[in-house]
């Protein structure tokens, strides 16, 4: 019954907005919290009665095939965890109760969109869920209505519209050769005419559309503005999961289940991945704005994921999926830390900070954990996934790319250490004596994400074996 992941939140939103507003505003937070927790629990234990076919009456009503495999489970888990972190941040950064109610509504809608993306097996339905996620994201970015937020949202909207046109055109072209838009039908049609010029154009423009949605270099123009201008709770969601579900996951799924993988595509993706890693890391080094630096860092980290699955080997794919999960966790953690700092300092300018770890010990400590995981320091989660990707690249004969990935890890550590030094270490800045630790809710979110980062690193064999490794089933198709 994966469709319940869409139906229950949808019914919830309708009821929350139809029933008397004051009590509903209070209930909204708890409703969203329960949704996130249930999604996390279901994704972790793969509860058979829910995911199996025994009770498929509700799913069959839609006449569109929902399907959940190990890749979907990893994504659903990431969606649940990151949405939970975003919700906790929103509770303590969106102060007005009415505004918070609207934010929570949008957060639930974005989660519905992402859950739809990872469970549908139809190109047109996939496109619609991508649009749901994108629309919710536009509004979340512009939520505070500042000039920068509106500009960031507008840039994202324009580039997303270009991606939308590309995807729709591609679907229209594919519908000329396929009987319908289900993954299996399009896969079969593409298999019958792999060298058709029309099919190649359709696949190419669909791929470009996904790369725009994923913010991959050179299609990343919208991403730094959107991440840095969005409210903190929205930044956590965007950086943690939205671009991964809308971009990276979709790309992997389309390659694995619809278009099929070939060496030319792999070579292009490898080059784009390497470009993203280096360009993102170099751009991050020159930033003064904390959230903007983390945004460029995301571009760089996504490069690792792309290089991992671009080689299309079992180890490469498993490493890429593992890095999707790890990146979702440690990048959300770093954005939660940025939210904590922003609420206390009122700015994201790193030049105006310093020594904050003395006044914000939990934020400072969890930030170090996030930084070390992002930098690939053992034994944290980020270390293992990067190591697997580098080994997979080396094993598949891509020694140059493997070296780029390894050297870029040093660059990552360098810019994150600069960030730590400017924000948390050193002497306490002037006028910062009265700064206090962030609100309990933000600290809880940070500690939860830091604990996951450490736990995944320490329990690496079990986590990798149960979650990331089975994803290689994609190669069997």
């Amino acid at each position: 019954m994966p469709s319940l992941l869409i139906l229950i939140p949808l019914l919830g939103i309708i009821l929350l907005n139809l029933l008397p507003s004051r009590p509903m505003r209070r209930i909204a937070f708890w409703f969203a919290l329960v949704l996130c927790l249930v999604q996390i629990a279901l994704a972790i234990n793969h509860y058979p009665p829910f995911w199996g076919n025994e009770l498929d009456r509700i799913d069959s009503f839609f006449r569109v095939s929902f399907s959940v495999d190990h890749l979907s489970f990893v994504m659903l888990l990431c969606i649940g965890i990151v949405s939970l972190a975003s919700l906790l941040i929103a509770k303590h950064t969106v102060f007005d109760e009415k505004e918070r109610f609207k934010f929570i509504n949008l957060l639930i809608i974005a989660s519905i969109g992402m859950s739809g993306i990872v469970t549908v097996r139809d190109l047109f339905s996939l496109y619609i869920f991508l649009e749901i996620t994108a629309i919710a994201s536009f509004i979340l970015i512009a939520f505070e209505k500042s000039v920068l937020a509106l500009e960031g949202s507008f840039k994202y909207m324009i580039l997303s519209a270009v991606a939308t046109v590309m995807m729709l055109t591609s679907i229209a072209l594919l519908l000329l050769v396929a009987p319908d838009t289900s993954f299996s039908a399009v896969h079969e049609a593409v298999g019958h005419a792999p060298d058709s010029r029309m099919v190649i154009i359709a696949m190419g423009i669909f791929g470009c559309g996904i790369l725009i949605k994923g913010g991959i270099v050179p299609f990343h123009g919208w991403l730094p503005d959107a991440y840095s201008a969005a409210p903190s709770a929205a930044s956590v969601l965007l950086a943690g999961i939205v671009t991964k579900a809308a971009g990276i996951y979709t790309l992997i799924r389309i390659l694995g289940s619809v278009f099929g993988y070939n060496r030319t595509v792999g070579a292009i993706l490898l080059a784009l991945g390497a470009l993203s890693i280096v360009a993102g890391a170099l751009a991050a080094m020159g930033q003064k704005d904390l959230k903007r630096m983390l945004a460029y860092s995301s571009i760089s980290q996504v490069g690792y994921i792309i290089m991992g699955f671009a080689i299309w080997t079992p180890l490469g794919i498993a490493g890429a999926i593992f890095h999707i999960f790890n990146h979702a966790i440690f990048k959300s953690l770093l954005f939660v830390n940025a939210a904590a700092v922003e609420t206390r300092m009122g700015t994201n300018d790193m030049d105006r900070m310093g020594g904050l770890a003395q006044k914000m010990p939990y934020t400072g400590t969890t930030s170090v954990i996030g930084m070390l995981s992002a930098g690939g320091v053992p034994p944290l989660g980020g270390f293992w996934s990067k190591l697997i990707i580098i080994i997979a690249l080396w094993q598949s004969g891509h020694i140059a790319y493997s070296s780029i990935a390894a050297v870029a890890g040093v660059l990552t550590l360098a810019y994150l250490l600069i960030m730590q030094r400017k924000v948390f270490f050193g002497k306490l800045g002037e006028g910062m004596q009265d700064i206090r630790e962030a609100h309990t809710g933000i600290v809880i979110a940070a500690v939860m994400l830091a604990a996951i980062t450490v736990g995944v690193g320490l329990l690496f064999p079990a986590v990798f074996h149960n979650f990331a490794e089975p994803v290689k089933e994609l190669l069997m198709r």
Binding site: L10, D122, I128, F138, I139, V177
Partner: protein, 167 residues
């Protein structure tokens, strides 16, 4: 075929007028005209359902939303508009050129004798609106409801303050 090509050229001209024009209001009208021409094209290409949606949503609803939005914006002075147009023309002069070349290429391709697009038999079979909406694409209908809710929230969030200020 000739009428369709004339309609395509009209649609392109209306779209160009929309994005190159100096007045926001005229651009909105240009967009409505573009949508209206697309509607006629869809009717001519045996897609009445898509045509009706295009007519009602794009020509009607979206134009109303745009006009409402424009009424909330601060109008530019004539001098600013002229400067903005010049700047835009300087920076994006190549866009209409590219559009013209691609359009001409497409027209040459599709008017070449023997040109045909291989349409899959199942995709070409005409299906009624009711069957498509309620039997084949139920999930998409529900998803559209979610998009409408998100859109409504967007209007409430982004325009509420402005309305409060005006009151």
């Amino acid at each position: 075929m000739k009428i369709n090509i004339i309609l395509l050229i009209s649609m392109t001209a209306a779209a160009m007028w929309t994005v190159m024009g100096r007045s926001l209001l005229k651009a909105t009208i240009g967009l409505a005209v573009t949508s209206a021409v697309i509607t006629i094209l869809m009717f001519r290409l045996n897609s009445p359902l898509a045509a009706v949606f295009e007519l009602s949503v794009c020509t009607g609803l979206i134009t109303v939303v745009f006009v409402s939005t424009i009424s909330l914006t601060k109008p530019l002075t004539h001098k600013e508009i002229v400067e903005l147009s010049r700047d835009r023309l300087k920076r994006f002069w190549f866009l209409p050129v590219i559009l013209g070349i691609v359009g001409a290429g497409l027209i040459v391709t599709i008017t070449r004798p023997g040109f045909s697009v291989p349409i899959h038999a199942a995709a070409a079979a005409l299906k009624g609106a009711r069957e498509v909406l309620w039997n084949l694409r139920q999930l998409d209908m529900f998803a559209q409801v979610i998009i409408l809710i998100a859109g409504a929230l967007g209007v409430v969030i982004l325009f509420e303050e402005k309305r409060r200020d005006e009151w």
